[in-house]
Amino acid sequence: MLAGLRQRLQRWMRPRGPEVLPVQLDRHRIYVLPTASGLFFGLLLGTMLLGALNFNNNPALLLALLLAGTALASLIAAHMQLSGLRMDAVSAEPVAAGEDLQLRIALSTADARVRRGLCIRLADRFTHTRLDANGTTVALALATTQRGLLPLPRVELRTVQPLGLARAWGYAWPAQALLVYPAPETQAPPLPQAEGGQGHPQLARSGEDPHHLRGYRPGDAPRTVAWKASARRNNLLVREYELPRGGELKLDWQHTHGLPYEQRIRRLARWVDDAEREGRRYALNLPAALPIPYGNGAQHRHLCLRALALLPTEARRG
């Protein structure tokens, strides 16, 4: 029942829906409640007040009241620790589902007050930071479970400053979704045969057959230097090898025919990674999407994995 109440309370707290960044915390969305030690402190003060009133012991009464006044003021100070705090941006490099997204949350303040012991919490992860007029960026991990766009949950900003008697907290709910790539299949068959298979040889610095020698260029690894040949001539020579590289590779949705839907996506993701690792040029054909032409490199891989990540789920594909 208590959990239900807490959940309802959580739903009632602002913001009640995602909002566009930047978001500034103000008094309409900062909540303050005593901590456990605050409650203990309150009980203690209550006892003191009762005793002092009963015995008409004025110094004791004054002492208890001063402490109570300070505790009350600390509620306000806790509030002030959060008010004026701004969340400017949230970003993260996409990762495969199952890994942690490394969020970077940029925070700044509307004024120059230094905020200490600020806790940023997302689900069950939290981190602490200290914030001054220059702003700061905190890193926070966010667990992922499935591919696609992961809408950001509410981010909790909270503090128990200055006395630890009260906890002030507020939420920011960035209307932003973070991309999560599909998890690549762990034990996948090798890449399908290249179409046509007539890939032209490419030169590479390592490989089996020496091809020819060329002049040294800065940046060449010392082990590629042909020392004997260099000794005969008066300048450094570097060996170049010939590596037969696979031809252009077309990854097609149809190649994975017969597998369950999600596994097809994961296999293609794995192949994209494999092709990228082998340095081959590849293209990706997915149903109901523009085909991605041949290419390679980080940008190309991102395009392919993004297309895979954004494929509709099986249910919606209907």
């Binding site: 009963n54 006395l163 907290w169």
Partner: protein, 655 residues
């Protein structure tokens, strides 16, 4: 928001803070405990804190130490009393650091430690306790702040020193923020006129006037220069020889100790005729923890809550645990109980069998020589004879050996020196032996007039005992045999009795006078404040009696105001610091209410054009305003007047 199951450990710095706070809270309490206990616990606490610095002490050792602490209490202050309870608290506080490792432990230790100053105030409300308690509270708040900072786990770069200035300033600011509400609550929160439950007595009594007197027993008091009472006279001021402050009247002598006649305390006061108009005054008594009061000889009018008994001993209706103020009227008696009932006369003549034979013989001899008469001339003559004997042959000294069985014989015939207790006791016994009804009166004599506040300060060292003899027609007459020997001692006229005087050096006297005056003010405004004073709070404004309902209303009003003030502080903390931006945002807000506010992505001029499409006039003005704001923000600084003009224009602009 779930609490983590285990609390992280304290950092050494935080531990230092917590221990310092605990020590500061413990110190005032230790000072109030009996010396042996206080010293023992203090040393014990230091040892425990040092031993448990790295890891908590094992359970059996803590148990053992706790047992030792309790045994010490039982040995020094046995019985269940306020001071023994406080001693137990001190023992617990001294031991607590032994098991304090985590953050949460630290917080609870600080919380418990705050009971230290609280308990101190149950024992003593003097200025030293107050100052120490205030320091302790501040240190406790600092420790709490430190613990909260540690929970943030942010490595602090200036954590080198134990107490840092910004932290102290932050705590003082919180303190100041809470002060108005605390003070409002202090003066306005309805007080209990009578306690719900009584304050436990002390196991070890504090020195003070008591219901019995053993010659030599006042010695501790005579050396104690702390204040007993402060008196403000309204109108006439009595002469120094009239400054007798009446306390317990002692009737019954058992050969060694004088006792109050408890049975007489229930009767109404004896008839008395005043000589002259008397004196109107307000007396402020330090807490006696008994119902005993002190009033100028003889009290004729007492306020509500106080009364006098048959022998004019002043009493309060309840024990006085804090400073109390009484407005009284006293007058010297012309005739005081001229008709002495036979039972009282018998009581005032009674002497124990088999004590002080030489004194009895002397009294009887004097009676024989003086003869009998019904006008009391012979009685007066005998008293005069005793006084002149004392004046001629006796000396005043505080240096008195232990009393023997026939103490009064020893004093009168061999030693011939002593202090007020010996003089009054011997005089009364001598009078009774001569057949003159007599009794001992204790209280204070003299007083020091503080020129700073124009009031009289009576100190515990002014404690005094004198005699009253009963003479036909005149009734009870005060006779002070000590004054016959050392009047300057009794009437406090010795220059070296000035407070703060050290030998011939008088430079500190002014300081002491001012300090005592300040303390009196503190007594007045804080310590002596009670339900009665609360009722009269608004008397100067013409409100005669504040009812609890009015008080609650007034309190709610002021508390509401304080809360509003706090809310204002919060709103102020959020607002834009730059007045120009503030005015600009306020202007935007006015448009937003009409649904025509500036979009986040929209430059000001584009917005102005959009507004101008609907309302050309306002839009045009807005456009110039936006240009001016941009110029003020990004072009070289505007002159003061120009800025003010711009602010005015921004505030005046309406959509």
């Amino acid at each position: 928001m779930a609490e983590r199951a285990s609390s992280p450990p304290m950092t050494p710095i935080a531990r230092g803070h917590v221990l310092l706070a605990a020590a500061a809270c413990l110190l005032p309490l230790l000072l109030q405990l009996p010396l042996a206990l206080g010293l023992g616990y203090g040393l014990g606490a230091l040892v425990v804190a040092a031993a448990s610095w790295r890891k908590p002490l094992p359970f059996w050792l803590r148990l053992l130490l706790g047992g030792c602490g309790l045994l010490a209490v039982l040995a020094v202050a046995p019985g269940i009393g306020r001071d023994s309870a406080c001693a137990v608290l001190a023992a617990m506080l001294a031991l607590k650091p032994a098991e304090t490792t985590s953050l949460r432990d630290g917080r609870s230790l600080v919380g418990f430690a705050l009971f230290g100053p609280f308990a101190t105030f149950l024992l003593d409300q003097g200025p030293l306790s107050l100052l120490l308690a205030l320091a302790a509270v501040l240190l406790a708040l600092l420790a709490l702040q430190r613990l909260a900072a540690d929970e943030g786990e942010v490595p602090d770069t200036h954590a080198a020193s134990l107490v840092q200035r910004p932290a102290v300033v932050a705590v003082l600011r919180l303190f100041a923020l809470g002060l108005p509400l605390a003070l409002a609550a202090f003066w306005l929160f309805p007080r209990l006129p009578t306690p719900l439950w009584g304050l436990p007595e002390r196991s070890i009594a504090k020195p003070g006037l008591s219901d019995s007197m053993t010659p030599g027993g006042m010695f501790d008091m005579l050396l104690d220069d702390s204040p007993a009472a402060r008196v403000q006279f309204f109108g006439a001021v009595p002469a120094p020889s009239q400054l007798y402050w009446r306390g317990p009247v002692l009737w019954d002598f058992d050969g060694r100790t004088w006792h109050q006649a408890q049975a007489l305390q229930l009767f109404t006061p004896a008839p008395m005729q005043a000589a002259g108009t008397g004196w109107e005054y307000q007396i402020e008594l330090e807490p006696s923890e008994t119902r005993q009061l002190v009033a100028l000889d003889l009290p004729t009018q007492l306020p509500e809550g106080a009364r006098v008994s048959l022998d004019y001993t002043p009493w309060a209706d309840t024990p006085q645990y804090s400073v109390s103020r009484w407005r009284m009227h006293s007058a010297p008696p012309a005739v005081f109980e001229a008709d002495l009932p036979a039972a009282l006369r018998e009581r005032a003549l009674a002497l124990p069998q088999g004590y002080n034979p030489r004194t009895l013989a002397l009294g009887q001899q004097w009676r024989r020589e003086a003869g009998h008469d019904s006008h009391g001339r012979s009685d007066a003559a005998i008293a005069q004879r005793a006084l002149s004997m004392i004046e001629k042959n006796f000396a005043y000294t505080l240096n008195v050996p232990m009393a023997g069985r026939n103490e009064i014989d020893d004093f009168l015939f061999d030693r011939k020196e002593g202090f007020c207790e010996h003089f009054s006791s011997a005089f009364v016994v001598l009078m009774r032996a001569a057949g003159i009804p007599a009794r001992v009166v204790t209280g204070y004599a003299g007083g020091y007039r503080n020129p700073v506040g124009g009031y009289w300060l009576v100190r515990k060292s002014d404690a005094h005992a004198w005699s009253e003899i009963w003479l036909p027609k005149r009734g009870w007459v005060r006779v002070d045999p000590t004054a016959a020997v050392a009047p300057e001692r009794v009437y406090d006229t010795l220059a070296d009795r000035q407070p703060g005087r050290i030998g011939n050096f008088t430079g500190l006297v002014k300081v002491f006078n001012t300090a005592d005056w300040l303390r009196r003010g503190w007594n007045d405004f804080v310590l002596g404040f009670n339900a009665q004073r609360q009722r009269d709070l608004l008397k100067p404004l013409g409100v005669n009696s504040l009812q609890p309902r009015d008080l609650a209303l007034l309190f709610a009003l002021i508390a509401g105001a304080a809360l509003l003030w706090m809310r204002w502080l919060i709103a102020r903390g959020e607002r834009q610091r730059d007045p120009l931006l503030r005015a600009w945002h306020a202007l935007d807000m006015r448009y937003r209410k009409l649904g025509r506010g500036r979009h986040l992505h929209e430059p000001a001029q584009v917005w102005a054009t959009r507004v101008a499409a609907d309302t050309p006039h306002a839009g045009e003005h807005l456009s110039t305003l936006a240009a001016r704001v941009a110029a003020a923000r990004y072009a070289p600084a505007l002159s003061r007047d120009a800025l003010h003009q711009l602010l005015r224009d921004l505030r005046r602009h309406r959509p």
